[in-house]
């Protein structure tokens, strides 16, 4: 196979870059991470004419080559490193025809790097409606490039874009303006110190330190004769550079772009008037939130019940149809219930990502940020914290990654620290199953289901805990950071089905695979620990028979006694008994204690753990819920999951920091173990105290 050449898609956020990527690659794409960091790396293959194939890399959206976040830094590091295996042979800069002026800033910077660059003007289908006309030929000449007018919505212009990509070798590599005019003397010194280097590249390497400070400057410091400028002087030069670029762009667009402003009365102002109204804006936002919760709790319960019972009967089927033995038991009692505990999440995760991606794609999310900023700031958060807090109801991991666009470090740190309080979907199965067991299935005032109200209360509790602890942290943390806040207010767009579908599939898949590995591993370990034991474990049937000899039990009753004796004397039983003193004041027995401890890997393990523990040695086909309902507290002969212990468990899960993956992400995003450890201990201590109080009070 001929070597594929690399194409990088670069562009500002909100230019439809991802749609273009989806159009070029179809479903022929993979999403991963850049090594060592959690920035999403999307790549795919595009078939060009005559069997030529191109490797397409969708770089994170950035407004310029001056990085101010980890995501943006990825773009610069790649473009400055010719030896990177992904270094592009050709760059395609995606722009939005309605924001051409701003989008071209990045284009001129890429051009200055000497990489062959194509300008793709997206959303060209809007030109007619917006009365925009563009002199392509002249613009191509001024910008030293080739231009493709495309519309990812209408799937237009892609053949021509592909043709341009195929013939990238004919593109000009001349820069379209000379950046060194901003400080001729300084650039002169640069040139003399590093005669073999590209001038603009040098400039970028120097200035990245001002903003971000991650690039390797070894080469620079090796030349001692070169004296650089102070940080504030460099910043001033960056401003001059930006001004020079805009002057150039304004001049070029004056010649080539005309907009008939009479036609510009548009959807934006009309929708803004309603969606950002001081009353209706909030009403609509709350209504949308309620719709999302309705979908998560109510609509997804049908497929979830189906999945639950399917896995129960599948486990039973396996047991009956595979040769009896340890291996079958491992599959039927360990792996299948464990897997069921992950698959059951799919409907909820999918709904959540569906809504979030629709809100983001449509441009509504920026309006929410705008509306909520003032309110959130009172609690030490930013309007941009709303997105992580909403996303946190799906999963804290993407939510914490979504804090990256909060520019203020203190606001960002507080958002990261409190996001795990929001009720993530991993808590949901725990909540659902316990609510079903301990909260009566009644209606209040004849309409509201008591169980649904309890669930809603738990969500509010999560948000309340997040907001309240943010308020405290804002008072306690002494971090000085410049507050600034810049949000682009994009045009409203009808979300593209293809984009939404790909996002939902990708996010759900990565959640299931990521969580799945942990859950699978834990359920296997648990099964082994529950199926083997020291000493008395192996003599279980003799001991039990001897004990019960006077009681005249039937064979079935005897088997049950043996099974529970075995479990208590298995390895996990011994561990559980050791934990029991710590959890008994909360109203739990040792089995719940085990589930609680294994939940520190990931909360959703709770249900799977109990399912695994209860199904070991049991032959009946049963759903997890019925098994739990049948558990009896040996101390008083009442159901183990009663109102007091149930509420205590609900509260424990509401507050405790039980998720290894979240801790790992927080470590990466804050670059220290201090904050994840703080979360682990403070949150779990709160959880223990609250659960203890609740049980002792309700008991």
């Amino acid at each position: 196979m001929a070597k594929q050449f690399n194409v990088a898609l670069i562009g500002n956020p909100n230019t439809g870059k991802t749609s273009v990527f989806n159009q070029l690659t179809g479903l022929n794409q993979q999403v991963g991470n850049y090594p060592g960091i959690t920035v999403e790396k999307k790549q795919g293959v595009c078939k060009l004419a005559r069997g030529v194939k191109a490797h397409i890399l969708d770089l994170p959206g950035t407004y310029s080559l001056n990085a101010s976040s980890l995501d943006e830094n990825v773009v610069i590091e790649l473009l400055l490193n010719k030896n990177d295996k992904d270094f592009p042979e050709v760059a395609v800069v995606i722009t939005d025809v309605e924001n051409l002026k701003r989008n071209l800033l990045l284009f001129t910077q890429i051009k200055d790097l000497g990489i062959p660059t194509i300008l793709a003007v997206n959303m060209a289908d809007r030109m007619k409606r917006k009365a925009i006309s563009l002199d392509i030929e002249l613009l191509e000449e001024r910008l030293e490039t080739k231009i493709a007018l495309i519309s990812s919505r209408k799937n237009e212009g892609f053949d021509y874009l592909k043709e341009l990509i195929t013939n990238y070798k004919t593109l000009s590599v001349k820069p379209c303006l000379n950046a060194s005019v901003i400080a001729p003397e300084y650039f002169d010194r640069l040139r003399k110190a590093f005669p073999n280097q590209d001038l603009y590249k040098l400039w970028l390497v120097i200035t990245q330190d001002v903003n971000f400070g991650k690039l390797d400057r070894q080469e620079m410091s090796s030349v001692a004769s070169f004296k650089t400028e102070s940080i504030s002087n460099l910043k001033r030069l960056q401003q001059k550079e930006t001004i020079a670029r805009y002057q150039f762009i304004n001049g070029v667009l004056k010649e080539t772009l005309t907009i008939d402003t009479a036609n510009a009365k548009d959807l934006r102002s009309r929708l803004d008037r309603v969606l950002m109204h001081k009353v209706w804006g909030y009403v609509i936002f709350i209504a949308i939130l309620m719709l999302i919760f309705q979908a998560i709790f109510d609509w997804s319960s049908y497929p979830m019940d189906l999945i639950d019972s399917t896995f129960a009967s599948f486990g039973e089927w396996t047991k009956n149809n595979m040769p009896a033995g340890d291996f079958t038991n491992l599959i039927a009692e360990g792996i299948i219930p464990g897997l069921g505990g992950i698959v059951i999440f799919i409907p909820q995760i999918a709904f959540l990502f569906l809504f979030i991606s629709i809100l983001e794609e449509s441009g509504y999310m920026s309006r929410v940020v705008f509306l909520m900023d003032r309110v959130m700031r009172r609690f030490g958060l930013s309007g941009k914290s709303v997105v992580p807090l909403i996303a946190g109801t799906a999963c804290a991991i993407p939510a914490i990654m979504a804090t990256r666009n909060i520019e203020n470090w203190k606001e960002r740190l507080i958002t990261i620290l409190v996001t795990p309080f929001t009720t993530c979907s991993a808590r949901l199965p725990v909540y659902l199953i316990i609510i079903a067991l301990v909260i009566p299935d009644q209606r209040v005032l004849g309409i509201f289901s008591l169980q649904a109200l309890t669930l809603m209360f738990l969500y509010l509790l999560g948000f309340g805990a997040a907001i309240f602890s943010a308020y405290l942290l804002d008072k306690v943390l002494k971090i000085k950071s410049k507050t600034f806040f810049v949000v682009e207010m994009p045009n409203y767009k009808l979300p593209l089905f293809k984009n939404v579908a790909i996002t939902v599939i990708e996010k759900t898949k990565s959640f299931v695979v990521g969580a799945g590995k942990i859950i699978l591993a834990i359920s296997i370990i648990l099964w082994v620990l529950a199926s083997y034991g020291p000493g008395n474990f192996n003599k279980a049937s003799e001991i039990v028979q001897k004990q019960e000899i006077a009681n005249n039990l039937t064979q079935v009753e005897l088997d049950q006694k043996i099974a529970s004796f075995k479990l208590e004397n298995s390895y996990i039983g011994h561990i559980g008994k050791a934990i029991e003193p710590a959890v008994r004041p909360l109203g739990y027995d040792w089995k719940i204690g085990i589930a609680l401890v294994s939940s520190f890997a990931a909360r959703e393990v709770f249900v799977g753990t109990l399912a695994t523990i209860y199904s070991v040695g049991s032959d009946e086909e049963e759903t997890i819920k019925n098994r739990m309902a049948a558990e009896i507290n040996p101390a008083n002969g009442k159901p183990l999951f009663n109102f007091a212990s149930g509420v205590s468990l609900l509260l424990f899960y509401a507050f405790a920091m039980q998720c290894m993956s979240t801790l790992a992400i927080v470590k990466r995003e804050t670059n220290s173990w201090k904050w994840p450890m703080w979360q682990l201990f403070v949150m779990s201590a709160i959880a223990y105290v609250v659960a203890l109080g609740a049980y002792q009070f309700l008991k």
């Binding site: 407004y63 701003r102 930006t242 003032r374």
Partner: protein, 77 residues
């Protein structure tokens, strides 16, 4: 001092010189540069943040940042 924060809804102004040390580079890159036009599209409830149209780009910034950027208001004829 007349700044972006002094604009009334619908009013326009021309951006004057300002200190780079208090205004983020990102804002400059979005087109907030001396000589460019700025218009106040809308304010959020509690008059903060401000929704602006700067040099043809729609963006929102907080009042405290806006108060750092001097402008000259364009009087409507």
């Amino acid at each position: 001092m007349i700044t972006i924060a002094s604009l009334k809804k619908g009013q326009r102004g021309i951006i004057k010189e300002f200190s780079v040390d208090v205004v983020p580079l990102k804002l400059l890159e979005m087109g907030c540069l001396p000589g460019n036009e700025v218009a106040l599209v809308q304010t959020a409830p509690f008059q903060d943040p401000l929704y602006l149209n700067i040099n043809g780009s729609h963006l929102a910034i907080r009042k405290e940042t806006a108060a750092q950027i001097r402008i000259e208001i364009i009087e409507n004829e």
